[in-house]
Structures are given as C-alpha cells and as structure tokens.
Amino acid sequence: MVKVDPEFKEELKKYGRSDFLSACFNCGVCTAVCPYAGESSNLPMKIIRYAQLGLKDKILQSTEPWLCYYCGECSASCPRGVEPGEVVMTIRRYLTSKYDWTGFSRRIYTSKIAEIISASLLAFVTAIVIWLLHGPIVTGRVQLETFAPAHIVDMGDMVIGIFLAVLLLSNLYRMYRFTVISRLGGKGIPLQRYIIELKHVIVQFLTQIRYSQCKIKRNWINHLVLMWGYTTVFILTVVFLRLYLTNEWYPITNPIRIAGYFSFIALAYGTVYAMIGRIKKDEPFRRYSHPTDWMFLWLLFLTAITGIMVHAFKYLNMPLATYVTFSIHLCIVVPLLALEVPFAKWAHLAYRPFAIYFDKLASSSI
C-alpha cells in the first residue's frame, strides 16, 4: 500500500523552489544526463515522480537525494524548466527535517524568523556564559590562555560535543530506520556487511569521491578544500586544544600553526567563493538560495573572519581587541555548530556518506 498525499507539493514549497514540479511530463532527459543515474538509482526522475505524486513514504525511504551532488546537468537540459536539481535539493532539506526527531529542524527550515531568533539566542547565551566564566583579563599583553582557561573551554567543547553527537547519532538512526529497515521487509543483513560497508562512509567523508563524477570538477575541489578546512579546525580545537589555544608563538614551520593557517584560509576562500557564486547565480546549484543556505554561509564566513582577526590582534599585541574578537568568534561558532550540524545544512556531512552506506546495506540483503 502506498499512501498518496495530495498536499505534499504545497508542503515541499516551504523548503525551497519546487513550484515548477507540476510542469514535469516525465520525458526522462534528467535521468539520461545524470552522471549518477544508471548504477543503482534512477536519479532524479524517480524522486521527481515521487514528489509529483505525493508519495511521502517512498521519499522517506529513498537514499537517492543524498547521492545527488547537484551539478545541474538535469536542470540545464530539462525541456520544461522543472529544475530537477533544485527539486532534489529541496527534498534534501525536507529529509533533514524528517530525520530530526525534535521537530526543530522543520521550524528553522520553514521559518526565517525562527532561524534568526534561534541563532541570536544561542549567540546571546554564549555571550553570557563567556561573561560569567571568562578568566582574568590581562591588559599588559595578550594572555588568551588566561582569558579563556583551558579547562573551561574543554568543558564547553564537551557540552557542545555531547549535544551534537546525541542529536546527530539519533537522527542517523532514524535515517537508518527509514531507509534500511523499512526497505528490508523483515529480512536481515549479515553482521559483516555492516562492518565491510563502513569503508564507504570513511572514504566518502574524506575524499567525497562521488562528487568528482560531476562534469565540472572545480566544484568538487572547492567543496573538498572547504571540508578539509573545517575538519582541520575541528581537530585543532577538540584534540589539540591545549596546544592550539595558547599564548606561545610557534615558529612558522610548526604543524599546528600551518594547519591553523591552512584551515582559516580554506574557510575564508570557500565561503567567499560560494557567497559570490550565490549572488551571481553562476551555477545551477547556486541559482536558488534558501534562507538557511545564507545563514550557514554567513556563520561560516564570520567564523573564519573573526578567527583570522583574533590571530591578527594577537600578533599586533592588542589584548583587549583580541579578547573581544575572541568572544565574538565564540558567539558565532556556537550557533554555527548547534544549529547547522544537527538541524540544517551542515547535517549533510553525516547524511551524505551514510546514505551510501545505508544504500549498500539495503541492497546487500535483497
């Protein structure tokens, strides 16, 4: 039994531009030009058809939307101007909100105001926490280690880390239930498959090799640089925090310093590139921007800029400016992590590699 929801098209409109959907007459050009079609999926026509018919359950069971990297070939060749790539993008947003059990994701995707208020609120709370917990302010020279004692930052890291892990893992479990369990129909998967197929998650996360199947390789490289940028920052701030957040000046050849430079340049470059692209609408996948796309880019961009500024002020030996910028930096990082990773655009860092994993799992039993 398949349930048809005639209201689905209206519901989808809140998640992005999908109003061209009804123009589709199923000619199949989108699938014939798609670099991902043919192997196991019939992207994007299958998804478009599900959306057109309002087959919500089928969409929830599909991993295909995550296997699309939105190169825009389909949108460029569609004779009806349906913008299949944009429809699949919209469905990715819809799925993000469905995997999230708290319902918060749906809120921020469907309401710009809710999104801005939550981001501001998180920034405000962070500011208060910094106000209450910051260490002694040394004005003679820059003493970031004293202003932000490592044990407190560690605690903050832990709180945010646990918060993110719980949400992301529980959402991934829901995704697993929707895309694997529901498709198995009671059949089991041998345990070793779970372990063997895990390699896809690691390979895909680190190389995003599937993205390279798109015709224009530049987008894959840019995305990879951006991803390596924030992964490096993540490792620096979580694993090497005590080495990273320090008053000491490392020589220019120090790996920590090099890694720091690399990551912030990568973040600043990647976000500026993406923002200019979204303003110019130069590629099909940047033509229609959802408010959450902009929020994500702005937060990431400001994170990079304030991070660079902290370093600059520290270099110029301006203690007060360093502390203030550092606080602002944290007030941006916290909403960026707490909003985007579990609830919004950044969740794709987990859903994309795991979609491949779940897809392999679901097909390995049948």
Binding site: G28, C30, G38, A76, C78, P79
Partner: protein
C-alpha cells in the same frame, strides 16, 4: 528605373497557403500579385514524400496547384523576388516595394532545356535536397519548378562562360541587375510560412557533425519520388540503413532552446515516414523516441495504431544525447520511462531528428509605416483569433497558413481559403468592387 503597377492583392509567399489564397481570390475576380523569394513557387510541400494520414503523394497534389497559379490570367507570379517594404498611402491603400533579383538568365528567352546546367563546372550543395546532394551554379531548382527557368548562383559562379556558350536560346545575361518595382495594392496577404528548426542548435544531437544524424526534411527527400539517391541510403557511407531511430520534438516543446510550443506535425510525419521506410526497406527496424504521441486529428490515432501494428517500436523517453561509433553508427542515450525509468543506450545506424517549425519574425520588418504585432513566440499575432483568425492588427493585412503558428497541410489550406474570403470582403469595401460576376447587394 521604377514602374508602378496596380493589383487588388499582393500575396507574399508562394507556398501551399499563398497559392491557395491566390487561386481563391482570382476565382472571385480579384487581381493578384504573388511574390515568392525562391526561384520557384511551391514552398515546402512538394519537397515532401507523402501527406499524413492519407498517404497521398504530396507533389501530385501541389504540382497541379502550381500550374494552376501560373496559368491563371488574374494571377501574376513573381518568383526570385523579395518584398523590401510595405508603405501605407494617404488613401489607405498599400504601396509595396519589391526587388526582383537578377537570375542572369533572360526569363522571356529561357526554355528550361537544362543545357547550361550540364555545362556548368561548379557544384555546390542543393538547398532543395537539404544538402544531401549537389547542384550546379547554373541550375533549374528542380524538375517541376514553376516557372521552369534557369538561374545562375552568382555567389558561386566563376564567370567561365560555359553556360553562355551552350545556351541555344542565347538567354544568359551576366549584366542583369536587381530591379525595384513599386506596386499598389488594396490588401496584403502574408503567407510567409515557417522555417525549419536549425537542428545544429541542439548541440547534444551533433547534427552537421555526425553525418548519419539527419533531419526529418532530409528523410522526406530520401523517401520522396524525386529521391536524390534513388534509394534510402545513409549519408556517411551510402549504407542501406537497417535500424533507424526517430527523435521527436527536436526544437519543439523545449524550453532549453526557447520554444515551448508543439510543432503539431512532428508526431504524425514521423509515423508517416516510419511507415514509408518500412515500405522502402522491408527489413528495416524503426524506433520512435517520443514524449507523447499527439494524434489529435481525424484519422491520426488510427494511423498511429497502424504504425504500431506494422512493427514500428515506440519508446517513451526523450533522447538526451547521441554518440558516434567508429563505423558511423550512433548510440542514443535515453531513459526508458515505461520500463522502470532506467538509463539506456541503444545503437542505430541512422538517426532522424524530427525537427519542429519556427516562425519567420522578420516579416514584421517589412512594414515601414505601421507595426505588425507578433505574439510572444515570434509568430504573427492573430488579434481576433476566435472570430477572425486571419486578421492582423493592421487593417487590410491578412495571414494565411503557418505565418500565425504551426499547422499541417490541410489546416494551412483551410486557413488560406479563409484568408481569401476575409480579404475579399475587405477589398469589396475598400475598392467598391463586386465579388466575381455576381453583384452582391445587401438589403
């Protein structure tokens, strides 16, 4: 040198619609000047093989019409002539400026013996055969041309004088110049027709680059009684095709090239060609890739079903791209929509692009004192589409045939007759002339 002539109507375009409108108006007693820019009247219809869905011979229907037009005492035919401007006179009538292009052959002397054609050493692509074969620089457009007079293609002529030496009528005249003539007319009929979609614009089909990708108009020539190869052969290597693909809606219903309109004809002419191909090559396999089959007219659906029963394979799915193999065979990439929606590749030895039809928006530039309204797609706008379909926004200017949008042959003829009636009514009021020999009096 300019001379001023007077006609009741100037009909622009000598295709099937222009010929029909001229004949109808002449039958009602009006004098007609038919202006055609090509060297012969006839338009595109007689280049076709057969008409759908009746499978009547297209040239057998159009050739008698061409003869009737040229022999009608009330119709003057100016071929190889172009309208340069249409002006509104103070008394409300039109002044039409026409350029008679030089043929470099004296029309009065030429007998159409074709000796110049045999003597000419220059070979260029033949427009009337859509580049499938060549023609000479001194040539007669085709066997049944009206008028059957030779002309010299000065763009390619090397002035060797071979034609002049063999011409028995002494008709070659290299000194001819374009002649501008002003004509007074009470009304204008625009029968400017359509142009075929330039298939090179769909880059993914590589028309022009892959020689075995041809347009449906080329396929019409291969299937017509005046087939340039005398047999159905594929252009690259002259092999007899055994597995032919048709791709429908090329240049129609496609926003990527800016035309959302249906051509109204490509479904049916492709089905017709598929049937004719099976007649010409009994062992051939024909596959038609379609989005929908729009068999809307009388007998169309039956024609479609008949093709299916004859063994034509219909595959639902728009072809995304074509690749060429080393032996000249072609691989089409498509999605098999009706069988699981999966991506497929299939090899054919000849691919026919069923091209759509596009407007001739340049017709609007002919009007110098008024502005002819076009619709959003570039066709002439029918300002009163539902009640006077042949009227334009300019009083006294009427349309016939495909000038206002895609039509098949019977519809174009009906439209032309309707235009003639509409025009006659207008002329009766403007020129106070009775229709035909029967005086009309309305009480």
């Amino acid at each position: 040198m300019t001379e001023t002539l007077n006609y009741d109507v100037v009909v622009i375009g000598g295709g099937i619609a222009g010929m029909q409108a001229s004949l109808d108006l002449a039958d009602m007693g009006f004098t007609v000047l038919l202006v055609e820019k090509e060297p012969s009247i006839g338009g595109k219809m007689f280049l076709l093989s057969k008409t759908f869905p009746t499978l009547d011979c297209a040239s057998c229907i159009s050739t008698p019409k061409m003869a009737a037009v040229s022999h009608n005492p009330l119709i003057t035919v100016w071929t190889y002539s172009e309208v340069d401007g249409i002006f509104r006179e103070e008394d409300g009538e039109f002044r039409v400026k026409i350029i008679k292009k030089p043929r470099f052959v004296d029309e009065a002397k030429c007998t159409g013996c074709e000796q110049c054609e045999d003597a000419c050493p220059i070979i260029v692509s033949s427009e009337n055969n859509f580049n499938l074969i060549g023609r000479k620089a001194a040539y007669i457009p085709f066997e049944t041309a009206v008028p059957k007079i030779a002309l010299i293609d000065m763009d390619h002529c090397i002035l060797c004088g071979a034609c002049e030496r063999v011409c028995p009528a002494d008709a070659i005249d290299f000194l001819q110049k374009p002649k501008t003539v002003d004509v007074r007319a009470g009304a204008i009929i625009l029968a400017t027709g359509f142009r075929l979609f330039p298939a090179e614009r769909k880059k993914e089909y590589h028309f022009g680059e892959y020689k075995n990708v041809i347009t449906a108009m080329q396929a019409e020539r291969l299937l017509s009684p005046t087939n340039p190869y005398n047999h159905v052969l594929r252009p690259l290597d002259g092999k007899e095709p055994m597995n032919v693909a048709y791709i429908l809606c090329v240049g129609s219903r496609d926003r990527t090239i800016g035309n959302p309109l249906c051509s109204r004809i490509c479904c049916m002419y492709s089905i017709k060609q598929a049937e004719l191909l099976m007649g010409a090559l009994p062992l051939v396999d024909v596959t038609i890739y379609y989005m929908d089959i729009r068999a809307f007219g009388k007998g169309f659906e039956e024609f479609y079903q008949q093709a299916k029963e004859m063994g034509v394979r219909f595959v639902r799915g728009r072809v995304a791209s074509i690749d060429q193999l080393d032996n000249g065979d072609l691989v089409v990439n498509y999605t098999d929509v009706e069988n699981g929606g999966v991506f497929k590749k299939e090899t054919h030895d000849l691919v026919v692009l069923s091209v759509g039809i596009w407007p001739n928006p340049d017709v609007a530039k002919l009007f110098k004192d008024e502005r002819l309204e076009l619709d959003e797609h570039g066709w002439i706008k029918q300002t009163e589409e539902n009640i006077r379909p042949n009227a334009t926004n300019i009083p006294g200017v009427f349309t016939a045939g495909c000038a206002t949008g895609p039509k098949d042959i019977p519809d174009s003829i009906v439209d032309a007759t309707s235009a003639a009636a509409e025009c006659a009514d207008y002329l009766r009021r403007i020129r106070n002339k009775a229709v035909g020999v029967i005086p009309v009096e309305v009480r």
